[in-house]
Each structure stands twice: as C-alpha cells, then as structure tokens.
Point group: C2
C-alpha cells in the first residue's frame, strides 16, 4: 500500500512547491475542515476581513515574484492562493480574480463547495444555503470560467488520484500562462486519501522550447533592424513582470546602452540609475519623435497606461515582445515564450559590434526640469511638490504600490532606487485594490525574507473601499507604510466630470485613528504603529526626515492633506483627453 495523505494536503503542499506559503481567505463552513490541514502542509492561513481584500492580497502576494527571482537568482515560480466559500465567498472575490486575469497574475482560487452529492443532486425544493435555490449548483464555476484560464471542479471526478492530477494540471497552466485558475472541492472530499508520492512528481512548469528556426528568424530580423537603426528606443512595460523578462531587459540595456524608458506599469523593471534610463514624461510624445526603432517589452498599451495612447511612440518601426509572440512590422510570430527569443537575441548581440548611438538628448528623452517654486514651510502640499519629494524618501529594494487616481498619475515621476518594484495597475484600475495588495506583498516579503519596505501611495477614495485591510495588516503584524493622498474625493474623476459635484466627494475619515479603531494594541513593542497627519510642506518634510517613519517597520499611516482639485500640472492634458473621450462616441 502506498503512503497516502488527505487530498487537501496534496492541494496545499503543491502550493508550497510553487513558493506560496500563505493562503488568503475568509473561513466558510464548506471548507472549515480544510483549514485544519494548512499548518500540517507547511503553510499558514491569513484570514482577511473580507473576500475582496483576500483576493487582492493573493494577487499582491504573487506579484512579489520578481523580487523572489532576483533574491534567489534562479527560476522561482510564485503563485498567490485565495480560499473562499462557495457562492457568497467566491463571488465577493471575483473582481480581484478578474483583475489578476487582466494583468496576468497567477492566483489559485480554491473554493469549498457543498458535498459531492449536494453538488450532483442539488435540491430545488430543499436547497442548500449559498445556492441560488434553483438547482444550478455549478453556476459559480461557470462564472469563474470567464476570468480564469483553467478550472478543476473536483467534485466531478470520481477517482481521487485523478482529482489530484486534474488539480496539478491546472496549477501548471496557472504558472505557464501566468493567469488565475479556479479549483473547487466538495466539503466531503477534504480528507480523501491520495498517494503521497504524487507530490514528488514534478509539475511541468517550463514551457516547451520555441521552434528553433522560427526563433532564429525573429532574432535575425531584430538584429538587422537594430543594426540599421540610428536611434533605437527600449520601452519596458508592465507585463514584463509576469512574463519574466526583467533580467533579460536589463541585460539588453547594459549590453547595448540603448535609451530606455517605461510606461507607468513598467516602472522599476529597469535600473533607474542606468545611464540609458530616462524617466517617462507624462503626456508628451516628444521623447520618441527621434526614435527610428522602438522595442516594447511586455506591452499593455491601455489608455490609462499611456495617457490615452499619447505616449506610445509614433513610429511604425516597432517590435513588441508579448508573452508568447513577437510582433515585428508586418508580421506576428507565435512562439512559446518570447523570453527565449530575447535570450537568443542577447546571446547574438554579444558578438555584434554597434556603431555610435543617438543619445538620450537626440531622442528628446530628457526635458528641462519643471520650474517648481520651492515651497515655504507653511505652504500647502501640492501634487507637484509631493512626488519629487517622495523620491528622496525611497530606498533600494522598496516595493512601491500606486493606488489608482492621483498616486498613479504622480507616481510616474518618482525617481526609484535600485532593485525597486512598482506595482501600478496597467488596465484593471480598480480603486481599493492596492491596500490589500500591499498586505499580500508584505506577507510574501516576510515569508521569503525578501528585503525592502512595502510602501503604498494611497488615495482616500481607494482607502475607503478596502479599509479593513488595515486590520489584516495589524493582525499579522506586517510591515506596511501608507501615505494617503487625502484630498476629500475622487480627484481623478473630478477632472473628467463634475469638478465640484458632490458625487465626487468622499467623507472625511480620521485616518490617523485607523490603527486604533482596527484593533492595534497600544505600545506593542513587537509591532510599532505610527500615524501622522501633515497639512503643510514643512510638516511633510519633517515626517519624511524622521527615521521612525523611514525604517518601514510596523504600520505607518501618513495622512497627507491636499487640495481636492489639485493634480500634477503635467497630467492635465491627458485628463482633458480622457474627459473629452467621455463626451464622444
């Protein structure tokens, strides 16, 4: 007889093999018994206040992958895991799962369902709670199909070994596609025995190799284009994180010295101390007028990621490195992984000699610094003064999250320190996602002893959506620093419509009392809490200079009071375009 383990331990221990050491969720009766198996599987449970927070946190957890890879200097998959109950739980989290889907984040959504019998023979006259009462037991799995790349509804599978194998296959797809997957488990299946040795069969996480000749043709053509080009430009965009292109991009940049920038969601991918680096300038295409060849890695060219497409260089001579295809002018080559193409390109480039390149100046990549009058100590804090000042607060290894709204706009102009990561939503742009995401990032950093602070630049409207994540952060004593742009409303929306409209206001909360309300202990030496409210430039400077703020330990909440209508000057043309777009067909 082979040694067996409970089915749910197979599920959990596989997650650990994918470097997921924490499962996020909210307990629900249908999977309560599964929770007893989390610790024996070498994981821990993070019980969130609600499922939406859990979903965002699991997403944030998975986004620590780029840090883990750097830290380990080896391929290291990292998935997030979310566990919710059937119906009410899974649907409360589905917006976060859809966000993971849109931004290519591998999250495993485990759902505890009623028993196999109840799923197969759902009562209509005597229904189970959390159903719709109409006999459609699998309706939620149907809904999940729309926003996950693979599903395994284990109650449908009679043989438990096959159930475990179906699960494994779904995990492999999550990692290889870097997308969320859906797994449901009947309440009576938790402890069904499966052979333990299934766990020692390695998951197939590596994609098959590209067709060698196709790959070589693409590399050859890119080399030709590069050799003809006098003014090439590299843009590192946000999907380079999940497509695992970061190390290759940096190698390419240092090998070729090609001028490099990123759109907002790609910030942090390229070392900003590199001489090739140029900060992205919002709302202008000047920087790219001179480029005769543009290579975009991990593109997600949404309106919000590109100032409504205005920052996309005009040249048609563009190479796009997607997850599994490379698009050259006039042709798209479907491959298994464009990462391999990039690797091939770098290998070839080592042998190639380039002529003189246009420098950053020729490409108009730099602009004379904006004239910002140095504020006096009693001046109010403006968006244009805040962001450059925050740059000086940053340290190497920081993970910086930009909430949707003015932080996403202002954060574009931050000057990062080496080995930083920026989490800025390129397309989903859900307000409220970043505070729980910061909780997830901080948990992953702790689990894997990753260095660096977790800093969230939050909006007040965003904070109010998922404020209970503060409780989750405190409960698990996670290290998170939060700056709240407290401007009494949805300022980004004001610029689109209703500058003075009440519907764009949000109530004024006492943010500095958040930790207290959400249950932080007073004077806990094991978990320091710091909360400050700053109204003036001088107060902000004092806070930023305070090492107790800068050490990143425990929970810090800095309530930064700003004018409700203030936005960075440079963002106004883009906001104006977005506003006009609402008025036209």
């Amino acid at each position: 007889m082979p040694q067996t383990i409970p089915l749910v331990q197979h599920l959990f221990r596989r997650l650990r093999q994918l470097n997921c050491h924490s499962i996020h969720g909210v307990p629900g009766d249908f999977f309560l018994r599964a929770l007893d198996h989390i610790r024996p599987s070498g994981l821990n449970w993070i019980g969130n206040a609600n499922e939406l927070c859990a979903g965002y946190a699991a997403d944030g957890y998975a986004r620590a992958a780029s840090q883990l890879r750097r830290h380990r200097s080896a391929p290291s998959p990292l998935v997030g895991a979310l566990m919710t109950t059937y119906g009410v739980g899974e649907l409360s989290a589905i917006n976060a799962v859809a966000g993971s889907y849109s931004e290519h984040v591998p999250v495993v959504h485990l759902v505890g369902t009623p028993s196999r019998k109840a799923m197969r023979e759902p009562g209509v006259r005597r229904p189970v709670h959390h159903t719709l009462g109409d006999g459609r037991a699998e309706v939620y799995a149907e809904m999940a199909k729309h926003v996950t790349c693979a599903q395994a509804c284990l109650h449908r599978i009679k043989n438990t070994t096959e159930a475990a194998e179906a699960y494994d296959e779904v995990l492999e797809r999550a990692v290889r596609a870097s997308l969320p997957v859906y797994v449901s488990l009947g309440s009576d299946m938790v402890e069904l025995p499966v052979p333990e040795d299934l766990l020692y069969k390695p998951l197939k996480l590596e994609p098959p190799k590209n067709d060698k000749s196709a790959e070589e043709r693409v590399v050859h053509r890119i080399l030709e284009m590069l050799q003809k080009s006098h003014a090439p430009l590299i843009i590192a965009d946000g999907m380079s994180y999940p497509f695992d292109l970061q190390s290759e991009i940096n190698e390419l940049v240092s090998l070729t010295n090609i001028p490099t920038m990123s759109f907002t969601s790609g910030k942090g991918l390229v070392d900003e101390s590199s001489p090739s680096w140029s900060p992205a300038l919002p709302n202008t295409t000047d920087y790219s007028r001179g480029a005769d060849l543009v290579m975009i890695f991990g593109p997600l060219l949404s309106d919000t990621n590109t100032a409504r497409w205005a920052t996309i260089p005009a040249t048609d001579n563009t190479i796009l490195f997607d997850q599994d295809s490379v698009e050259l002018p006039g042709s798209v080559t479907e491959l298994v992984k464009s990462k391999q193409v990039l690797r091939g390109l770098i290998d070839r480039l080592k042998d190639v000699k380039f002529g003189q390149r246009a420098d950053v100046g020729v490409l108009n990549l730099t602009q004379s610094p904006q004239e910002v009058a140095v504020p006096s100590s009693s001046d109010p804090i403006t968006q244009d003064s805040l962001w450059p000042t925050l740059s000086s607060f940053l340290k190497p290894e920081d993970t910086l999250l930009l909430a949707n709204g003015t932080p996403l706009i202002g954060g574009r102009s931050l000057q990062l320190q080496p080995r930083s990561q920026v989490i800025a939503s390129p397309i989903w742009n859900a307000i409220g996602s970043m505070l729980p995401s910061a909780q997830g990032i901080a948990a992953a950093k702790r689990n894997h002893q990753l260095p660096g602070r977790t800093i969230l630049l939050e909006g007040d409207g965003s904070f109010q959506v998922t404020c209970q994540a503060i409780s989750d952060i405190i409960r698990y004593k996670l290290d998170v620093t939060v700056f709240i742009a407290n401007n009494a409303g949805y300022t980004y929306e004001r610029w689109l419509n209703g500058m003075d409209a009440e519907y764009n206001d949000v109530p004024s909360w006492r943010y500095t009392e958040a930790a207290r309300f959400f249950g932080a202990k007073d004077n806990d030496p094991s978990y320091p809490i710091l909360a400050r409210r700053v109204d003036t430039w001088g107060q902000l400077q004092d806070v930023l200079a305070d090492e107790k703020v800068g050490d990143g330990k425990g929970l810090k909440i800095i309530d930064v009071v700003m004018d409700p209508k203030d936005v960075p000057e440079a963002s106004k043309p883009g906001l104006s375009r977005a506003s006009e777009a609402l008025r036209s067909a």
Copy 2:
C-alpha cells in the same frame, strides 16, 4: 417634433415611477455624466464607500416594499437601484446581486460601459481600462446573465427609442418576477434624446390573470382539504415578502384562526399579537406532530432556514404557495400568481363554516418557557439572556435585520411588536450583507416617510466585512441602531469545526469608536451619535432602558461583549447536525 429628454433621464425617471428615489453606487468614469441627471430626474444619489455595500444597500432598499405597501394600502412596487462602473465596479457588486436573485429582491443594476464604439470594436492591442484586455467587451454582461432574470445592453441597440423600450421591458420583468435585472449603458449614450412621452406609457407591472378554471380547481381542492382537516397549520415563510402574500396571509389567519408560525425568514409577516400566532421553536418538530394539514406560504426551505430541514412538518399533506405555482399533494399547478389563488380562497372562505379547530396546545405549538435563571447585574451577557431581553426593546413598526451567525439563530426567538418586519436571509447567508442593507432600508424609510426604527443585530465577523457602511450611514445622516454581538470570532463556524481554532477568531476592533473614525462630526445636533460598550447584564439593562438608545434617531452602536463559544442552548442540536453534515458525503 415631440419633446425629448436625455436617455438617462428616461432610465432614472422610470425608477422613480417604481418608487425608487435613491440610486446607490460608487462613481466611475464611464457614467460620471449620468450622475448629473439624477437630481433633474427627481432622484438622489447615495455614494457608497464600495460597490458591495452599494449592492447590499440597494437590496435592502427594495425590501422596504412590504412597509410601503402597508403604508399606502395599495399595490406599490418598490425596486432598488445600483449603479456601478464597467468591470471593476459591477463585479465588486455581483455577490450582492446574486443574493438578490436567490432571495427574489428586485434590484436594477445599471452599469456604465465604455462608448458604443469601444464596446463594438474593443481594442486588443490598445485596450480600454477595466477590460480584460482580450477583446471580450461583453464578458461582464455574460457573467451577469447567471444572476439576473433579464438584461438590456443598450449599446447593442441602434435606435434610442428602442433602447428605452428594451429597458422598460426589463424593468417590467424585474417587478413581475421580483428579481434583479442588468442594464448597461454606453458612456456616449447618456444624453441621446428619447421622446419624453414614452415615460407616460404605463409599465406593464401586473401579471395576467390566472387561468380561471385552474385557479378554481385549486381553490376548491384546498377548501376540501381544509374542511377535512382537524388540525391545520399555517407557516408563513420568507418569500411571502417578495411574493406579496403578507396581507392575504394575515387575512386568512384572522378569518380562520388556524394556528400559525413562521420559519426565521418569515418572521414579521404575521402579527405576533394574533391569538393564532405561535413562535417558531428552533430545532424541534414537536409543534407540528399534531398537524394533519400544513399550508406553507412563500417557502424557501433551505437548510439554514429550517434548522437543516428539521423544522419542516413531517406530514405529506402539505400545500405550498410559491410565486407562480401552488403545490398540492401529488400535483403542482403552474399559475401566474399564487397570490390570486390565495385571494380566491379567502373570498370562498368567507362563505364557509368551519367546525371546531385544534388549538395551539393540541399542535404542541407552545412549549413551557425555558428555565433561564435571571442573571445578576454583574453577570456576563449570554446568548440565552440577550434575545428575550431584546424583545422588550422592540416597538411596533421596527424593521429588524438579523446578521448571519448567532443573530440569525438568536433572532428566531424574538417576540415582535405589530407591523414589524424582520430581514433574515433564508438562503444567501452572506456575512456582511446586513449592515449595508440596514443603510438601504433606512434610506427607503426616509424617502417614503415610513415609520419605525431600523435595528440591526450584527455579528462582529459580519461587521468587519462591510464596516465602511457606517460611513455611508453617517454621510447621509440615516437613522440606524446597531447591536454588535462582539464574541471575537465566527461563533457559528466554531460550532461546525474548529471550536478553538485561530481561523475562527476575528480581531478585536474598538467598535464604539467606529463613528468617530468614519468621520462623524462631534456633537452635531442634526445627527446624534451614541456608542456604548456593555460587558455585563446590568450594563445591558441600563442601555436598553435608556430612551436615548431607544429613540432610534441618528446612529447608535451598542457593542455587546459575549463569550466566543456561547450560542443559544436551543440551537445546539441544529449546529450539531450542520457540523455532522460537513463530515459526511
């Protein structure tokens, strides 16, 4: 030329015709311009902190229908309305919409989408934010189909008059089926002109009449069964609220004096001061052993509504009045509305003479009161002492919401005053739903000048899911009284699995500071705030006797500290059955 109005005003003014005077939601760019038309349409906007709260609030708003009908003594439809943005907004609310679907609550979910052009030709290489980036612009509408009874995606319709008519049809279905519907509107459609006189074409809200001969056969058969019965029993269950059976049930009860009870979700339907009324006894079928005929109105016989089906009478001689069918032993008659059958039955009963009926005693409907030792002033508050005591706090016209968990269990034993309504989830049982629902109820009460307090018996785990609803209550100065059963965890779940498990704990928040944190003004004479924490029986008694607590004005939060493992004694057998169910297939 006929007078025209902007399309969105047609949408809004139709809502007003359905007695919806407030739209709940969170602003989003794609429908910002629509918000400018809310006041001109005679409605107001309730901006919630997040979409899940908005969804539950819209559901609560619609549940005030039974009060509105009583108040007006006339058929009065009442729908709730929820407005969210495309993708991120609608999916954040979809759990609430699914809950409305499962419990037959008519909520109109309006979704602001990108422009018609963007919906018809979604970019894949240059996608719009809030999409999944893969060209599936209508994927969220597909998801909504699973949990709404009708959909109108207006961007698909070229002619605006037809768009308005498609919307009207969807509204008619929402009211007639008493179910949620989904309506999406392109951002460029807001101000398209539609003929104003469309608004004066009455909506078809009344169902067609039943087939007269089928109805008469059913009425005749029921009369026969009643005449043969020596010990009939009436059970008013929760769906009698949305199926609008309440006045007929009460008429039937007072006409026949048949002993009457309800399952939890039907509490409040029948006047509990009626001599025929018997409180439902949890976890026993004794009361119904003697019944030889049971009539169940608006049945939703889920496990959670019936102590895992234990409280359903054993007799097969049962008549079930569903929304549009009547089930008699051996046959189901599909009709348009069972309400009409019930009306026909009452008319016939007025002419029929009955013999002597078994009284409540014969049916074992009453039980000798439980021996509860009277606590002393310094004793802790127990579940068994709390609920009877709360009964004495209740007044006529109260709307009482029971959170899922111990409040749902304990609330069964409350003794209601006349014209009360209880909102107790019969099947969806989502924790966190009731606080925003209370906000919606309170808004509907204010809009329609309905009498009575809005009182929520909340759990701490529930509170933490949707705590920002407190901010919404304060922002709109709504009158809500909240008792929080503060027992440091998911006590209901503890009894199912993991009595001492950390995963069943919830952090200890400072609930009495909630109003302050969420931005309440200090000493605002126009909006009183009261918060108390009670640890002992004596403190509880003092609070309940305090007229400042009892007046129901403003926001009251009573933090009732109780033992984490304490549940009402009478609920233990049912919890034990539910726990066993998790262990078996």
